[in-house]
């Protein structure tokens, strides 16, 4: 009896010693982007009791995979509503996986949006266009939330930049996103170049675009790619750059 009491006291004392340490390690984990997943009640409603229990006890990414595969099947059947719901669950369960956010956005903005334009159940093109815009917005929403969960990685900035330029025609937003991506660790070097290209398409940003492109040009021959030279020439013309300041027509 005395021993049981002793053990109980020891157990709580051990707890008292370790709780602050655990709090600190846990906080550090979180700043290294671990344990971001919020397993809340709404998720439990979506994935069911069993899936929720599995997700709680070390099977989180596996549950995410299973739902991801379900989403894949739904995509093959072009059930867009279901694809959307399933991808919401997947990204809630595994918010640190770029692939899931990227796929979710791609399905919405590229696949579902195109399907919407061919949707014969909708009465007219106006309605179809409206549906398409909604899918673009859904894709954008996935990527924005993905970035919020992964601010440390360039891939989703790039994906959102692609969506902005290809689907929404918002080149200045795309340029901003590429520039953000370029600053992150592990970003490919073309991000900076792409930022400048996008800027060159954005109306009213010609001067800034010219400066950016010229700066890249002056870094050396490895930056002087055909597209860069072409965009630079167009801007030189648009901005009426004095002839002596223009770049030569042909690379020496």
């Amino acid at each position: 009896m005395i021993r049981a009491l002793l053990v109980a006291v020891l157990l709580l004392a051990f707890g008292a010693v370790r709780v602050p340490i655990e709090s600190s390690i846990s906080a550090q984990h979180r700043s290294a982007y671990f344990h971001e997943t919020k397993l809340g009640l709404d998720l439990r409603e979506q994935i069911g009791q069993l899936g929720f229990l599995a997700a709680l006890s070390g099977f989180r990414s596996l549950v995410a995979d299973v739902i991801f595969i379900q989403a894949h099947v739904a995509w093959e059947r072009t059930e867009w509503g279901r694809v959307l719901l399933l991808f919401r669950e997947v990204t809630t369960l595994q918010p640190r996986l770029i692939l899931f956010w990227d796929m979710a956005a791609w399905h919405m903005a590229w696949n579902a949006s195109v399907a919407a334009m061919r949707d014969t159940t909708l009465p007219n093109d106006a309605m179809r266009r409206k549906a398409q815009q909604e899918y673009f917005a859904l894709g954008k929403d996935f990527l924005e939330r993905g970035i919020k969960n992964n601010p440390d990685r360039p891939q989703l900035y790039e994906a959102l930049a692609r969506l902005c330029k290809d689907k929404l025609g918002d080149h200045s937003a795309a340029a901003r996103l590429y520039a953000q991506a370029a600053k992150l660790e592990g970003a490919p070097e073309f991000d900076e170049r792409f930022a400048a290209y996008e800027l060159s398409y954005a109306p009213g940003q010609e001067r800034a675009a010219y400066d950016a492109l010229l700066a890249l040009y002056q870094r050396g021959s490895h930056e002087r790619l055909p597209t860069l030279l072409k965009r630079l020439k167009i801007l030189e013309k648009k901005l009426d750059i004095p002839l002596d300041q223009r770049i030569p027509d042909h690379e020496p």
């Binding site: 846990s26 344990h35 070390g58």
Partner: protein, 292 residues
Amino acid sequence: MKHRAFSPVRIAALTGNTFTELVRLKVFYFLLIFALLLIGSSIFMAQLSFQQEFQVLKDVSLGAMSIFTSLLAIVATAQLLPRDMEERTIYTILAKPVPRYEYLAGKLAGVLLLLLVSLLAMTAVFLAVLFVRQEMLASETLRQTTGLRPEQVQEAVRALKASAFSANLLPGIVVVYLKAALLASLTLFISTFATSNIFTIFVMVFIYFIGHLQATAREYWLQENSAGWIAKTFLALVALAFPDLQLFNLVDDIVAGTTIPNGLFAQTALLGCVYTSVYFFFAWVVFYGKEL
């Protein structure tokens, strides 16, 4: 002859014996199930892209490793003491000049050895499957890309290999082991006062689930909020009495590409070792005065 209070030879003998006992219990069927699961899961992956395929493969493998080692730790440890007591082999061992902590240490070390061997075996199977799939896909890629510029082909193969294996997985696997070690030690502690191994397993499953929620309870407790004192006391008890298992669940995020800084990994690993040692000490405190 002077009696030695601590003898590595005795502990080694007990460890080896415990290991043999557990291996004979056919717990190694776990490994068979694991391999089957991996092979089975690659069948429905045929329709996915290679990034998706490797992702699922890694999730399935590491998820299975995590759950199997944890389960193995609980199930294997729970029956060690009851079995020795029921079959009275414990009398023959403790009637030798064997201190009780050495007996416990031998039991725990035997389980830890079993866990190590199983985890290494599972890692080997996992890496083998990953490697085979990677090579298959690489040769497929080479075939598909004939005629393209060599640097592009190399880039494609590099992308493929990067999504297959990364060294970041290794700390994740180490943490899986430490979590299992913690659970084994805690199970040993519970089994020193449990009335049967079923009771031990039942309690451990309970602890397993609560342990994954301990962090939440701890945060609510430490937060300055208006919760009543009853709720506060309850949360404090959960936080103080239960281990934080969520801290040892890094592998989910590591598979998703998150990297763990070395210093933080070292802290997490150290915490796991402390947990294991402290629970072992508790087990000894109870077992020291136990009437056999």
